[in-house]
């Protein structure tokens, strides 16, 4: 029941599936100046991501895909070009676009529940009871409801990334940005998470931009896979993966897609090596 004067949203309202954002990245360039000269990390990269689309960015390390993700998040500013989320320019980080990093960005001084609550506490108009209810829901969604009061260091790598996922989902962002979140995990844990992320994506309807160097992973998760080429960072090629979901990482159809992308990735690598000579 809304209180007079000030809008108050309940946990039920907060847990509703909200409309995902569409992203428009327009001619984004970014140059890094380091000790060994300057590198053009991104060279007029343009990209549109539809509402609730799952886009994977693949490419060798150092090709600028993480930089692009950080720019979409608002953590870095492009030298030129703009990023629009639902038509509005991105000027800084915000709860509309949450990031899941390669290393779990969990705070060791908080327990699992406290970590999931962190972003929720920064949402006004929620009572603490609602926040706890929302946090509980997401911990259950990632399959960790029994571990709410565990310390972070007691968790396995896979569990840590599940907590990261729950923390990123809890403030109900419209976009989820994932930066090689499964790269450091063992194969079995990864395969479980591929299933889970597809299930959660379907349930919560998020626009997802997913950075990886694992082609098979990209083919398994993405509606589209964008191949990046380095020096300067550009989108080299685009692949549509139109397999039915949920997808199994080990399926033969998926392997065919992955092979196609790997071939393209290899030719980019060879061109790069030839250019270096």
């Amino acid at each position: 029941m809304p209180r007079a004067g000030r809008h108050h949203s309940s946990a039920t309202e907060e847990l509703q599936v909200i409309a995902p954002s569409k992203l428009a990245i327009e001619k984004v360039s970014k140059r890094f100046r380091g000790a060994s000269g300057s590198v053009l990390a991104l060279d007029r990269v343009s990209l549109n991501v539809a509402e609730a689309e799952f886009v994977c960015l693949v490419g060798a390390s150092g090709c600028g895909k993480t930089t692009l993700l950080n720019i979409i998040a608002g953590l870095e500013k492009p030298d030129s070009g703009t990023v629009l989320a639902d038509g509005k320019p991105v000027t800084g980080p915000g709860q509309e676009r949450l990031v899941m990093f390669q290393e779990p960005a969990l705070f060791p001084w908080l327990d699992v529940f406290g970590n999931v609550l962190f972003g929720l506490k920064l949402k006004p108009n929620l009572t603490n009871r609602d926040r706890r209810e929302v946090a509980k829901y997401y911990l259950e969604l990632v399959g960790l409801s029994r571990f709410d009061h565990a310390n972070i260091h007691e968790l396995s790598g896979g569990m840590k990334q599940r907590v990261s996922l729950a923390s990123a989902l809890a403030p109900n962002p419209r976009v989820l940005l994932m930066d090689e979140p499964f790269a450091a995990l063992d194969a079995l844990t990864r395969e479980q998470l591929y299933g889970d992320i597809q299930k959660i994506w379907k349930a919560r309807r998020k626009t997802i931009v997913f950075v990886t160097h694992n082609v098979r992973e990209a083919a398994c998760l993405g509606d589209r896979v964008l191949l990046f080429s380095p020096h300067p960072g550009r989108i080299q090629e685009e692949f549509t993966v139109d397999l039915p979901r949920p997808r199994d990482i080990n399926s033969v159809d998926l392997a065919a897609h992955a092979t196609r992308i790997t071939k393209a990735l290899r030719s980019v690598g060879q061109a790069e090596a030839a250019a270096a000579k």
């Binding site: 949450l98 990031v99 990093f101 290393e103 920064l122 260091h153």
Partner: protein
């Protein structure tokens, strides 16, 4: 329980050896009183209130000075970590003065403040302050950048980030700095009390000093034991629980 019994047995043996050395009369009884004499002195001092009085005076000096050191040192440490200007100035000053044994502040304090409580307080603050500044600065500098980035995307800004992310992330460093500051403050206060007679109150250090003046070895040893016990208690009551909490949360405990 086994470890506790072992510790008790160990100290019992130490006291027995002491008693044996006293009875063997290897040294003059003036230099080495018996454990019984020391206990008798402590009982007497406890009964007539000298001991409680001195302990209260010393602890008041220590706690007030330590608290001031913390309240001033923490924000200064944050400033030096946050802004280069402060790091290059106050940070460098703190680094330099931290190498100065805090006893060295005693002569300066006496000239500035005379034989007053202010001199005592000043020595304690100087013992605490620099360690706390440096530990806070180091702690903040060692916060993994990913914490700040994650907090930023969650909508945390400025003061919120400092209070809810940077400060707790730096806590293990800050606590070890607080512990070091405490140790320095405690040592320098004892030195100051031994050297300086202050008419506003006799602390434990002064009892130690008068023990020497009167060649009352049982008093000297008795007060030394009290000082050791206070140090141990501070560790067990105040620092140990905090450190245990940190170890449990961060997963840094070996035990």
């Amino acid at each position: 329980m086994k470890r506790f019994l072992l510790a008790v047995a160990f100290f019992a043996v130490v006291v027995l050896l002491w008693e044996a050395a006293y009875r063997a009369e290897i040294w003059s009884p003036v230099l080495l009183p018996s454990p019984g004499q020391v206990v008798k002195y402590l009982q007497g001092a406890a009964a007539d209130g000298t001991l409680a009085n001195a302990t209260i005076i010393t602890m008041r000096r220590l706690l007030v000075g330590y608290f001031i050191g913390l309240v001033v040192g923490l924000p200064l440490g944050l400033l030096t970590a946050r802004w280069k200007v402060f790091g290059d100035t106050i940070g460098t000053l703190a680094l330099g003065l931290q190498t100065l044994p805090s006893v060295c502040w005693v002569p300066l304090a006496l000239l500035w403040f005379g034989q007053t409580e202010a001199a005592m307080l000043f020595v304690v603050v100087m013992g605490t302050l620099w360690s706390v500044i440096i530990a806070t600065e180091t702690g903040v500098r060692n916060v993994p950048p990913i914490y700040r980035r994650a907090a930023l995307t969650m909508g945390s800004k400025r003061l919120h980030t400092w209070l809810k992310v940077i400060l707790p992330a730096a806590l293990p460093f800050i606590v070890s700095g607080m512990k070091q500051g405490w140790a320095f403050a405690w040592r320098s206060l004892m030195a100051a009390e031994i050297f300086v007679t202050i008419l506003t109150g006799f602390g434990l250090g002064q009892l130690l000093h008068y023990g020497r003046e009167l060649s009352a070895m049982e008093q000297v040893i008795g007060i030394m034991i009290v000082i050791v016990v206070i140090g141990l208690l501070a560790d067990k009551i105040f620092f140990s629980p905090i450190e245990k909490f940190l170890h449990r949360r961060w997963g840094t405990s070996q035990a």
